[in-house]
Symmetry: C2
Subunit: 330 residues, 2 copies
DNA sequence: CTGAAAGCGCTAACAA
DNA sequence: TTGTTAGCGCTTTCAG
């Protein structure tokens, strides 16, 4: 059976005490060169890997953080989820932090008490866990949500402003009949984008039209249905703002299939700046959101918190309108 | 600062020894009812959560498994990666196994020695880590790969056979000019599908045509490029087998945009049975691969291995041809 | 059925 | 600069 060598074996082989071994392994205080070399050789010969579990126990905290991600189909299959997992995963890897992934359901209850910190990818559905984490005094940061009533750090994208920018752009182009395919209301981000859409129209005193606002769920199917509904309207919109690039691409496919042209007959703005938005049938004008930066910032904030050096912060990252070829003036 | 109550606090409050507390918490040996109740009450009052780190230390193994996933753009943004993460994540959640996610680069070196088990989502690029895991005697299972030269369990999808089925179907429909958009050669699965394509043609003595075999990388962009290349050929194929549904959908979009029809002018078969393949412009005929079953099987096998009850097994899961509307006889 | 005590592998005073 | 030692919180013999 497996029998990893431990610090004692190394000490014995190197002819020093375990403290010395610990010191050289952790590069803490200075050790006489000759001893360090002995230890290093022993480490190599024995293939010694420090037992992180023991270390975590004595340190009273682990180097592990949990990423809590709900498994709603919609959000999970979105570019967002993937990019967040990838981003946080990559940063953790480079910071040598262990990443625990929790794919949750509203009623899963996690034992959060043994991680060093937690990142919530979405809180609308995880409110209880968030509160528990705060109560347990575990360093926590929420992403893509702005939480004001709880003492947690958050780093978010300015979804409302981003959506507003998108619609403003369409408005500036002369469009007045602007439809919207939303991302539902299961996430704060999706709700914020809807807010932004409404705000932009309200600012120009353009009344909201119920038939122009269609609820999607970030899936391609929902976008297809929505686009078809929009195209079958007596008074069609001249432009559509779509809450994600993936959905926008699907909407474009539908429009093209019906023999209409984009942007000539219909202008489209997406949201994400998904890399594939450059390469579709028509390069997509969209809102770029710095997902990677958000992931990175979240992990760094958390790391600070975990080391007792940080304090609660609320960071809001700006979006940027990326103009490509899917819009034309009205 | 945080000060979780520990087993000793509970023991004191319940008026018993820590051994007794341990027993009731772990439901191990029988404890007198009155004592059990006392302990349970104390646990509740103190909100006692056992420290899993200490437990792991004394048990000499953790309840944590690592999922190692390379971060090649192509594979990472595929339906496969997402479904695997989601599948394994979900199963682990229900089995109360902690899931460590490692998003790796070829040259990241992980400290694998402190997990209870490892699942490799892809081994072509992770061969060294795999070998190390085996050398360290850590329970390991590889998914979507069949490894014969190493003592590891693997559970895989029969990619070769699946691809062959797809092409055979086209062949049976009378097609002879069958093109192929591949998933590259960075993963075993992608290579196997290419094998399957070649085998199917060879079995009917149809010569391979270089211009009919285009390398993709599972991204929509690569599929778009490939489809355009295929459509610009003097002698166009009459059917295309595409190594993923996502890519197949993109190919269909391209074809439709050029004013051609699917399946009338071009038959398409995908691979994955991605849920969205039902809802696209044309419901896609495809190869269903039981990704969830694979994930589930992998975790269960690993769990067995971790509990010393299992032995090396190599499981190959069958695919299934799902006939929808994207193919027509020639 | 219950409790005392010996560790699991490591870190961090403290002493030398 | 180095070694000794006391834990970190828990499980598990082994006695009682």
């Amino acid at each position: 059976m497996r029998k990893n060598s431990n610090i004692e074996d190394v000490a014995k082989l190197a002819g020093v005490s375990i403290s010395t071994v610990s010191r050289v392994v952790n590069k803490s205080s200075t050790v006489r060169a000759s001893n360090r070399i002995c230890v290093e050789q022993a480490v190599k010969k024995l293939k010694f890997k420090p037992n992180l579990i023991a270390k975590a126990l004595v340190k009273g905290k682990s180097n592990t953080i949990a990423l809590v991600m709900p498994r709603y189909e919609g959000i999970f299959y979105s570019y967002y989820a993937l990019e967040i997992i990838r981003g946080i995963g990559t940063i953790c890897e480079s910071l040598k932090i262990d990443l625990l992934l929790h794919i949750t359901h509203p009623n899963t209850n996690l034992n959060l008490s043994n991680v060093g910190g937690i990142i919530f990818a979405e809180v609308l559905s995880e409110r209880k866990q968030l509160e528990e984490a705060v109560a347990l005094n575990i360093p926590t940061v929420a992403i893509n949500n702005l939480i004001k009533d709880l003492a947690v750090s958050c780093v978010t994208i300015n979804n409302k402003q981003g959506a507003r920018e998108a619609v403003d752009y369409l408005l500036d182009l002369g469009h007045r009949d602007i439809a919207y395919i939303s991302g539902g209301n299961l996430t704060q981000a999706a709700k914020d984008r809807t807010q932004g859409y409404k705000l932009a129209l309200a600012a120009r005193k353009i009344p909201l039209r119920g038939e122009f606002m269609i609820e999607g769920d970030y899936s391609r199917k929902s976008a297809r249905d929505a686009a078809e509904k929009l195209l079958s309207l007596k008074n069609k919109p001249t432009a559509i703002f779509v809450a994600s690039d993936d959905m926008a691409q699907e909407a474009i496919s539908v429009i093209l299939e019906k023999g209409l042209r984009v942007p000539d007959d219909m202008s489209i703005v997406g949201f994400d700046d998904n890399p594939s938005s450059i390469y579709g049938a028509v390069p997509l004008t969209t809102i770029r959101q710095p997902l990677m930066v958000m992931a990175q910032t979240a992990v760094k904030e958390l790391d600070l918190l975990m080391n007792g050096e940080g304090k609660i912060s609320r960071i809001c990252l700006p979006t940027k309108l990326i103009i490509r070829d899917s819009c034309l003036p009205r």
